[in-house]
Homo-oligomer: 143 residues x 2
Amino acid sequence: MRVSTQFPIAVHIMLMVAGFPEQKMTSEVVAESAGVNPVIIRNVFSKLNNAGLLDTKSGRGKTAIMRPADEITLWDIYTAVESDETDEVFKLHQNTSETCVVGSNIHALLLPHLTDAVNAVKAEFSKVTLQCLIDELYKKINP
Amino acid sequence: MRVSTQFPIAVHIMLMVAGFPEQKMTSEVVAESAGVNPVIIRNVFSKLNNAGLLDTKSGRGKTAIMRPADEITLWDIYTAVESDETDEVFKLHQNTSETCVVGSNIHALLLPHLTDAVNAVKAEFSKVTLQCLIDELYKKINP
DNA sequence: CAATCCGTAACTATTGACATTACAGAAATT
DNA sequence: AATTTCTGTAATGTCAATAGTTACGGATTG
């Protein structure tokens, strides 16, 4: 199992925008903090925008979240940048034999259990809101 | 999130060996059914062997499971072929800024929640035994 | 001893992720 | 309206991980 870095980067963006609303968060500023190329940030900007989580505007970096931070969960952010389809999360081996009993049934056999696993992650990530993370961050700054 | 095909292949192997104990399951036979190269099967053989799930023997393909099928879970098979470490499952962005508040705290902030997600998958996979899958397979053959 | 088959190394091919450059177009400032 | 700033996106290059393939030593069986 391996998740691309786009997910943590997306969380990073949301944290910076929501946690410090008075500051101008351009792709370059966030890129500096995240240690990645600004274009990567802009790509994630775009995905978060399409998902209705982030309001990005060309011009003067008027970036802002579109919902209250306690109405945005980790799962919202996850699905904004990555697929939640079971067969994208778990890569099955194709070209299985159609004549073998196992080969012709393995996919249908595994799929429901893999979907259960994805739903378990969904349930876990849905518990955590952006506001939780902001609170935890402030706690780390001012213990 | 993306899991390598080694996990479903490992399940495929275990199903064939445990579901049809009277038949000789060499790497070539399984490779034919799974539609992959025999060496891939032998590599997974080796990992399942090291994990104490499969007894593979050079010579005449005397492959057999080492524990009863109802004492082997999907999680056992998963950990035999893939890492369950949070930071291997979820790939974090390195090179974050040490001077930025978010950059210097994002890893510590995310880690517990990512670990929760991994544990949720673990709990789900631990519910499903190899015997469950065999039963479901037989149901598909003889409905 | 001979045949079979696992375990593993070495090499290649392919795929996906990320970095980088470049530029069109939108928004705000003047 | 012109200028500046910044997003959105395409094109290209680079690198790492995965899978395919060949090869061979060594273990086991008969």
